[in-house]
Symmetry: C2
Subunit: 186 residues, 2 copies
DNA sequence: GTCTATATGCGGATAGAC
DNA sequence: GTCTATCCGCATATAGAC
């Protein structure tokens, strides 16, 4: 076998995830990715047509992972407890996979990703919010919660809360939103 | 005068603001900035020691502008109306100066910027929130509101709300947070 | 203070040999 | 399928002439 395959789309995806989590602040680089796989950069083009295609695959993978985490966290009984658990799972995902999360929140990649991959995420948020507002399709409330979580994750990660920390801002926001959502039901 | 000054720190700052607002998606480039001023890139180093110094100046400028906008918008009488007006002014700033806003939310630059420049922003948020919670220094509530606004601005800008739009998510979030904050007071 | 020329580094992507 | 060699573009930043 003169030219055995050293890598594969799956291996590339896995190495890309590692690189995203361990790498510096800049985005993925095909050179660094190839180096991690013991391969030269041009070889990657045999498995993905270009960098964007790899990024789309990463987004779909991240959507599935986040969806699973939210579904698992939503197993709580009380509607408010389930919502808080899902919210904390969302933030935990953003904390542990910050650069993957950034990719997932890139609308251009999101538009190219399969719709199914992101469905579990959105559906879970809708369900948790709907249990409080008694409207199973309360898009407005879900958007509000999403905005809060996305913003909190971003400010936390970029260090904008400073040395003093968020000072209970997460709990205050979740409580206020949950209370406001409950009021919507009545 | 063999080598008259073609530019100045103030002119560079102004051109950088224009470039941030009109430019593409990538960050500032000293080449593009110099081109806009009718100058070559190395000349800029006579006015700012390096790119970071210029960015810090931009952050301070942005902080002052946002602070003024929030103070002006908070002139409403009712606490809730003032909070909503301030929130809308915050989002309007993020919408009209998206890339400057990004710089302002970069913690590394923020840490280098003067504290006074960002004080009006934070103080206004604290005041508007405090009027509802009856706690003049309710950091938790202010962090919650800030997170919501920051997240909403980010999702809106990156197009994550999609063609269907936010569907009243802004109003739902502001109302829920205001209601929750009011409940804190009692 | 501005210029030309250059150093140095990064990135994505392609051609063609094996 | 992988490789070497290369193209092309971008960037920040510096040296030294005028």
């Amino acid at each position: 076998m003169p030219y055995p395959a050293k890598t594969s789309p799956e291996a590339i995806l896995g190495a890309a995830l590692e690189l995203l989590e361990q790498g510096g602040e800049d985005g993925l680089s095909l050179r660094a990715l190839a180096g991690r796989l013991g391969v030269k950069a041009p070889s990657l083009y045999r498995h993905y047509p270009d960098k964007a295609a790899l990024e789309v695959a990463l987004v779909e993978h991240g959507n599935r992972r986040l969806g699973e985490a939210l579904v698992a966290a939503s197993r709580e009984g009380e509607p408010e407890a389930a919502l808080e658990a899902a919210a904390r799972a969302y933030l935990e995902f953003a904390r542990t996979h910050p650069r993957l999360y950034d990719l997932m929140m890139d609308a251009r990649l999101s538009a190219l990703a399969s719709r199914e991959s992101g469905k579990a995420v959105w559906n879970t948020v809708l369900q948790r919010v709907g249990a409080l507002t008694r409207d199973p399709d309360d898009t407005a409330a879900a958007v509000a919660l999403w905005s809060f979580l996305h913003g909190y994750a971003g400010l936390e990660r970029s260090g904008m809360f400073g040395a003093s920390g968020p000072k209970g801002g997460l709990e205050a926001g979740l409580r206020a939103l949950a209370a406001g959502f409950k009021a919507r039901a009545g």
